[in-house]
């Protein structure tokens, strides 16, 4: 397999070519505001290395933080029509009821709340009110709404009411983009609905951006299919990713973790990615990031969907260092390191200056930091070590020592000896870990629902069958499928030995 992985970051667009599991070419280009320009630039640099030669490329996988940035910066979003199925329940808390006002102002369109939905045990909560949905569609059409989010109570258990509503709307409004909350998973109506609304608000940006990606790949002379990498380290075909842009929100961090795991050959570890301003810590299990089980706020909106469990702390190479009292970060000189740090003639003592003084970082002018005595440097590094040790412990799910993969430009701050760590592994090509993570992504299938009147084993195997079906539908080669995550939680109060089971499986992309 020959694949190109591209990571569109805030500063750089990285591209790598992977051939039979080896990195055979890696380049960087500046990210451009239209995203496409940076990709074209990176690809032409990659082609210029000669690594691609004239041999065909099987796939191009792109990871981007473009969509999450759009939400955070409130740009490129459109008004969304919200359809909530579940009346008469939840009426006092309509869609967008807990959004920050500035974002609600941009996104909130007409809201329709209609009867329907299911109970936790699969019984219909109320019959679906098709007529009300038709009326809502006509009203939204009259208001020129171009994107609609549909949510229904307990739709992760039974999505049929959302699907029926989507069919009615598609008939009334053939051009409209539709997001169903059941495509986004998790129990928790408000948070799942919020995710659907954010996704719907991104509908046009996603269409333009992904069309731009495909154009850029075609213009660079490659004929390979384009895949977009997702939060969970898997990929979606461009057409699918365009439908669910929020699934790429955290793909940058995920790709970095998976790339580090791949490059090191270690598939179970904690990964620490130390940048200029922040440090991201996550856990890799079987080569995939562990997922967050709780609410994740995006742009001030509470959401619950497939996101990696990440801990970010204000520590990086550019972190401000104060000596009395001793503190490191969260303020940082950021991208101005080479202007503001002491070792570059600037006024600010940074974590990098301490690294340069003790010789663990070889940049800048060492003579400008020789006044930092050994004792002082060690006090600072001990403090940093304490910060890292505590954060690592937070990310562990059980006692015992772990393997730590250290990547990123600030990885020199990670001490070789850490409490609770068996071994610190520094990864070769660590600076292109994200693009490598993109290049190696696979296709997944996931199930998260409540099973009743079954033994634990029966419930897990029923969930597994459903997950395999979903992965195959999403384009996986069924012969390569394997389960990467199983979790089951007994549910208090519910009868029938109720158990919520989550199973995720992955497989290679099926040949076309």
């Amino acid at each position: 397999m020959r694949r190109i992985g591209i990571d569109v970051g805030g500063t750089n667009t990285d591209a790598v070519l992977i051939e039979n599991g080896q990195v055979v070419g890696a380049v960087k280009a500046p990210t451009t505001s239209d995203v496409t320009g940076g990709i074209l630039d990176a690809l032409s640099r990659l082609l210029a290395t000669g690594a691609v030669a004239n041999k065909p490329v099987d796939a191009v996988m792109i990871g981007t933080t473009h969509f999450v940035n759009a939400v955070v910066q409130r740009r490129g979003l459109i008004k969304v029509g919200a359809i909530r199925i579940g009346m008469p329940a939840s009426a006092s808390l309509p869609p967008l009821c807990d959004w920050p006002a500035d974002l609600a102002k941009v996104v909130q369109g007409p809201i329709a709340m209609v009867e329907g939905g299911h109970d936790y045990d699969g019984r219909p909560f109320m019959p679906l009110d098709i007529k009300a949905i038709q009326r809502a569609a006509r009203d939204m059409s009259a208001q020129s709404i171009r994107s609609i989010a549909i949510s229904a109570i307990f739709s992760p258990l039974d999505p049929s009411h959302e699907q029926a509503a989507a069919a009615v709307i598609a008939e009334e409004m053939p051009q409209v983009a539709i997001t169903c909350s059941s495509d986004l998973g998790r129990i928790g109506l408000l948070e799942r609905e919020n995710a659907a609304l954010l996704n719907a608000a991104l509908a046009e940006l996603a269409r333009h951006t992904i069309a731009g990606f495909e154009r850029a790949i075609a213009e660079s002379g490659l004929s390979a299919p384009v895949y977009i990498t997702q939060n969970d380290g898997t990929v979606a075909e461009a057409v699918q990713a365009q439908r669910l842009p929020i699934y790429s929100f955290a793909s940058g961090a995920t790709n970095s973790m998976r790339g580090a795991a791949y490059l090191s050959g270690i598939s179970n570890a904690i990964v620490i990615d130390v940048g200029g301003t922040t440090t991201d810590i996550g856990q890799i299990r079987n080569g995939f990031p562990r997922e967050a089980n709780s609410v994740v706020k995006i742009g001030g909106v509470r959401t619950l969907f497939r996101m990696p469990d990440l801990l970010s702390i204000g520590l990086g190479g550019g972190s401000h260092v104060s000596l009395d009292p001793l503190s490191v970060g969260p303020l940082s000189v950021g991208y101005r390191l080479t202007a503001d740090a002491l070792a570059f003639g600037g006024p600010q003592l940074t974590a990098s200056d301490v690294g340069i003084a003790v010789g663990s970082l070889k940049i800048g002018d060492h003579s400008k930091v020789t006044h930092l005595n050994r004792n002082t440097c060690h006090r600072v590094l001990d403090h940093v070590r304490g910060m890292i040790e505590e954060s690592l412990d937070h990310m562990k799910t059980e006692a015992g020592d772990v393997t730590l993969l250290a990547v990123g430009g600030g990885a020199f701050l990670v001490s070789q000896e850490l409490d609770g760590v068996r071994e610190v592994v520094r990864v070769a090509h660590g600076d292109c870990a994200n693009a490598v993570g993109a290049a190696i992504a696979q296709v997944s299938g996931e199930v998260d629902q409540v099973f009743q009147n079954m033994t634990r084993e029966q419930a897990i195997s029923a969930a597994k069958r459903l997950a395999f079906d979903r992965a195959t539908t999403a384009g996986a080669d069924s012969a390569t499928l394997s389960v990467i995550d199983t979790e089951d939680i007994p549910i208090a109060y519910l009868p029938g030995n109720a158990r919520r089971v989550r199973v995720r499986c992955v497989g290679d992309i099926a040949a076309r």
Partner: protein, 360 residues
């Protein structure tokens, strides 16, 4: 205390934080109930808090709570009109008018249910409840300890399902029958419990628990804003004791007989790494053990708090690695009598232990 007090939205935000702490690990998150109150306040509605002392002996007080599975509550979001309907249904059934509304349970999401109902009636909320915390069953209340009449009870589902439990011989029967109704509704129901007279509330209610929860909530929120120690802030408003500071090293969870049971094990952060504390839970924290010896038990309130944020850590969500501080708060006096201990002492939860208070 005889003054009525209009609750501000800040008071209610603080109440949500404090009530979650008094939930002693259970009771459900107050978040969705708080969202209801924010919207009602945005419409201009205000709720009055009434000291129990002001009640006349023959006033009638509605005691309300939402019953059911927290999971279902995440999909069928609590709506102030449903709990209000449970109160109206009781008034219609009994042919009396309520003077005020009171919480069954000040711990967790149910702390806000009387406010949600009151918002629709222009009636005050009594500054009291019947648990002083959260407990899992109907007989674990001060009014059950007082042998007050357990019936009738109204149950409401937002689809227009309404049922009244007219008569039961005991609180345990009320628990069984109402649980069955609740399950049939889809494991969630808004309920108005047996109405109480003003005399009964004054004799058997646990007074001033709303004020207490608000004070705890303010202490935590202020400490968070000033980056002070929130645990110290709580202890400055409540005569509690720190039992342990450490981190979670193991959580063992299982569901039996409809309860979430299990044990969380904590270890010391710095020196003394061998010293461990284990806390058993049955929806709520019930008994804390240190090196095999019981160090705190129900009815003492055992609260597990996030050491940095000061907010409560629930039994459903506690996980490995969390930095937590365990504190004990004094129990309501009604639960430390022999009769009280029969209802909520360690033996009521299956532990062969004699109750020994942290505060003895």
């Amino acid at each position: 205390m005889t003054e009525f007090r209009e609750l501000s939205l800040d008071d209610i935000e603080a109440l949500a934080v404090g009530a979650w702490i008094l939930g002693t690990g259970g009771g459900g998150s107050p978040y969705l109930a708080l969202l209801n109150m924010r919207r009602l306040y945005a419409e201009g509605i205000r709720v009055q808090l009434m000291p129990p002392e002001v009640l006349a002996d023959d006033d009638w007080v509605a005691v309300v709570s939402n019953m059911g599975a927290p999971l279902v509550g995440q999909e069928r979001l609590t709506d102030s009109r449903t709990i209000a309907r449970a109160v109206t249904l009781m008034e219609e059934h009994r042919g009396v008018g309520f003077r005020a509304i009171m919480a069954l349970e000040i711990g967790g999401g149910n702390s806000l249910q009387p406010l949600m109902a009151a918002a629709h009636f222009n009636k005050p909320v009594v500054d009291a409840d019947t648990m002083g915390r959260a407990y899992p069953e109907a007989q674990m209340t001060s009014v059950a300890v007082g042998n007050l009449r357990p019936y009738p009870l109204t149950t409401v589902d937002c689809r227009g399902l309404e049922a009244i439990v007219e008569k039961v011989p005991s609180w345990k029967w009320m628990e069984r029958v109402s649980r069955k109704l609740c399950t049939e509704y889809g494991s969630i129901a808004s309920t108005c419990k047996a109405p109480r007279t003003g005399r009964e509330v004054k004799d058997w209610g646990i007074p001033h628990t709303t004020t207490k929860a608000i004070a705890i909530g303010y202490a935590v929120r202020k400490a968070q804003a000033k980056h002070d120690d929130p645990i110290e802030a709580i202890l400055s408003v409540e005569p509690g004791k720190v039992l342990f500071r450490g981190k979670v090293v193991d959580v063992d969870r299982r569901t039996t007989e409809g309860f979430l049971r299990g044990r969380a094990t904590l270890s010391n952060l710095d020196e003394d790494r061998d010293s461990r504390v284990a806390i058993d839970f049955q929806n709520e924290w019930i008994v804390a053990w240190r090196d095999g010896e019981a160090m705190a038990m129900s009815p003492d309130l055992i609260c597990v708090l996030d050491s940095v944020a000061g907010e409560a850590v629930g039994t459903e969500t506690i996980r490995y690695g969390q930095r937590v501080t365990v504190i004990a708060l004094p129990p309501p006096a009604v639960f430390t009598t022999l009769k009280g201990l029969e209802h909520v002492g360690p033996r009521a939860f299956g532990y062969d232990l004699d109750y020994k208070s942290v505060f003895a």
